[in-house]
């Protein structure tokens, strides 16, 4: 993070990346200020003018005007703004009269910082892991396969005949996970194994890089690594001949694989990309999964920016929560216009350096959650769920944040023939 800044390198980085859209936005923003109070940072910082989205991207025009002639200190200021003051949630874009995508420009600034060797340690570590092993946690292929096999062993004791297919050619769906799951949260994979088995889903994992769908490189603007990650996923999907690629309950992974991949790859992959929320929603709607009963406590649902606003699943996310709940209480702002929880855009994986800022900016979401009076909040995103659990402690919300799969695995009807002998007898 030191060394001389060579203006030429900054300009050589920026110029080819300033496409027509960015140039248009930079030249027409009328500084009307309509974006100000759409931003949770602005609201959480007592309407601090410095938190206005259009102000945060002032650096681009400024750097261009200076022909890249800025110093390390200046870039440090850029760093603080683009990492500590924006989750790239794109809420402001929906309220901008011109539809200016501030997040995209923040992303460009992050990429520019990376080109000058500046990025959060947490993201850099993940990027190195991707480069080494293809996944963010640096899990070796053997370890991964062993984990999947272990999960199959464990779960086949719970449900008769359960298998966890790996590298099954011609399966309908290739299911991908967040590398946190095999590493820290194997219960996520266990729950999903149960759900898929009961729903009779024809799915498979893949044994080689491509099984981790996360894309933390995207948050640091490292397009090259981001591209390699999605390339791996679709390479595996091609090899296995699957029709669909499914993504776990993770927001940014879904956005990367479904909506950013075509831009990075230069073509649209032939497999359809689906999110777990869609799968689960359809299972319950179509009766492939039946519930013993619904969640009795009051519930609400988190709309992760990258599943809903930038993922288009607002309807299904809400419907799924409704189908699972007896007492569903939507937040005041639900769906595409909901507030970011403060954990997005790389804030969670950035670790300690970001914690203070994300707890503060999460205040707005915390208030929205509190107002519902819900005791359970469904959170179909790994970053959101960590953040909401932290918010729960920080603001004493008294809610339990869970993934959808936890509730579904718990509440679904297990067909008789899948129940192990002893348990079937117990039930009688």
């Amino acid at each position: 993070m030191s060394g001389e800044i060579i203006p030429r390198t900054i300009m050589e980085f920026l110029t080819p990346r300033l496409g027509a859209r960015l140039k248009t936005w930079l030249s027409i923003c009328a500084h009307c200020g309509m974006c100000a109070d759409t931003c949770h940072f602005y609201l959480a910082h007592n309407r601090d003018p410095k938190m206005i989205p259009s102000y945060k991207i002032r650096f681009i025009n400024d750097i261009i005007k200076k022909y890249g002639g800025v110093d390390r200190e200046y870039l440090q200021e850029v760093y603080k703004t683009v990492y500590y003051e924006c989750n790239m949630c794109r809420r402001c874009t929906l309220y901008c009269p011109f539809g200016i995508d501030i997040a995209m420009m923040i992303s460009l600034l992050r990429a520019m910082l990376l080109s000058q060797g500046m990025a959060p340690q947490g993201l850099l570590a993940a990027i190195n892991n991707y480069k080494e092993s293809g996944n963010q946690m640096n899990i070796s292929d053997e370890e991964w396969v062993e984990t999947v096999q272990w999960i199959e062993e464990e779960m086949s004791e719970e449900l008769v005949g359960l298998t966890v297919p790996i590298d099954k050619h011609g399966a309908k769906i290739m299911y991908t996970v967040n590398a946190r799951e095999p590493k820290f949260y194997p219960q996520d994979m266990m729950e999903v194994a149960k759900i898929f088995y009961v729903a009779g889903e024809d799915y498979t994992y893949c044994s080689q890089p491509g099984w981790d769908d996360t894309n933390l490189a995207m948050f640091a603007g490292d397009v090259k690594t981001a591209r390699t990650i999605v390339e791996n996923i679709f390479k595996r999907a091609d090899e296995l001949g699957v029709q669909k690629v499914a993504v776990t309950e993770c927001g940014h992974a879904f956005r990367a694989v479904k909506y950013e991949a075509p831009g990075w790859l230069g073509y649209t992959p032939k497999q359809e990309v689906v999110h777990s929320v869609e799968l689960f929603h359809d299972y319950i709607r179509d009766g492939r999964i039946k519930l013993r009963h619904k969640v009795k406590e009051p519930t609400t649902v988190q709309d992760p920016c990258n599943v809903v606003r930038s993922g288009g699943l607002g309807e299904k996310n809400r419907r799924l929560a409704e189908m699972l709940s007896e007492d569903f209480r939507p937040m005041k702002l639900q769906g595409n216009y909901s507030y970011c929880c403060g954990g997005g855009g790389g804030a969670m994986p950035m670790g300690g350096e970001m914690k203070k800022y994300r707890l503060q900016s999460g205040k707005i979401k915390a208030e929205q959650i509190r107002e519902t009076g819900a005791k359970i909040i469904f959170v179909p995103c790994h970053n959101c769920i960590d953040q909401i659990r932290d918010l729960n402690k920080e603001y004493n919300l008294g809610v339990k944040a869970i993934h959808f799969k936890e509730a579904i695995a718990e509440l679904m009807v297990i067909p008789e023939h899948m129940k192990p002998k002893e348990q079937a007898e117990d039930d009688e």
Partner: protein, 197 residues
């Protein structure tokens, strides 16, 4: 011209938008934002009424002013169209100028807007207001007692109008055209996610 270069450049750099282009999303977004049928209007009703009025006057008065139409009639095009009644045009001009003053004061006195404002934001607001101000003076002879101003008001009016028109392609006034492109690209960006903005 700028729109054309942007368009050709975007064909190579923002391929996804062009591949996913759907008129449905584009037309619906332009419809919603040209008319006050969008989320921002609901969130900021007062500001929206003012800015919509501002833009309507800005376009309608110069085009439908009787004095301007008669120039078209005398020109080689020899075309004509219905004019606004003079007193309506007067009131619209005053409303426009009032709102322009409000916008200027807001820029100066609101801490939020002051921070994000740049020189061109102030400058272009004045440039846009000048033709209206001078036009009003010229029509009503308000400042005719100051002989220099009275004699040349029509000249100032034309020059300030031309200045504004000339600046359109080089400044953020270009949003008169680029608005449509910007909205279209946003509409496609969210449209490919299945919803209309």
């Amino acid at each position: 011209m700028r729109a054309v270069t942007f368009y050709t450049e975007s064909r190579t750099k923002d391929k996804v938008i062009h591949e996913q282009f759907k008129w449905g999303y584009v037309l619906s977004t332009i419809f919603r934002w040209l008319l006050p049928l969008n989320v921002t209007v609901r969130k900021n009703p007062v500001y929206s009424v003012l800015t919509y009025t501002f833009h309507i006057c800005l376009l309608a008065v110069p085009i439908f002013l009787a004095g301007h139409i008669s120039l078209w009639e005398e020109s080689i095009f020899a075309v004509s169209w219905p004019a606004l009644p003079q007193n309506v045009a007067d009131w619209m001009t005053l409303a426009f100028l009032g709102i322009a003053v409000f916008l200027l004061l807001r820029r100066i006195f609101s801490a939020d807007i002051r921070l994000i404002s740049t020189f061109s934001d102030y400058f272009l607001l004045v440039v846009t207001a000048l033709p209206f101000l001078t036009g009003y003076f010229a029509t009503h002879g308000t400042l005719n007692h100051i002989s220099f101003l009275g004699d040349n008001m029509m000249l100032f009016h034309m020059l300030s109008g031309e200045l504004m028109l000339i600046l359109i392609p080089f400044t953020k006034l270009s949003h008169i055209i680029l608005f449509f492109f910007s909205r279209a690209s946003a509409a496609v960006e969210f449209g490919r996610r299945g919803y209309s903005i």
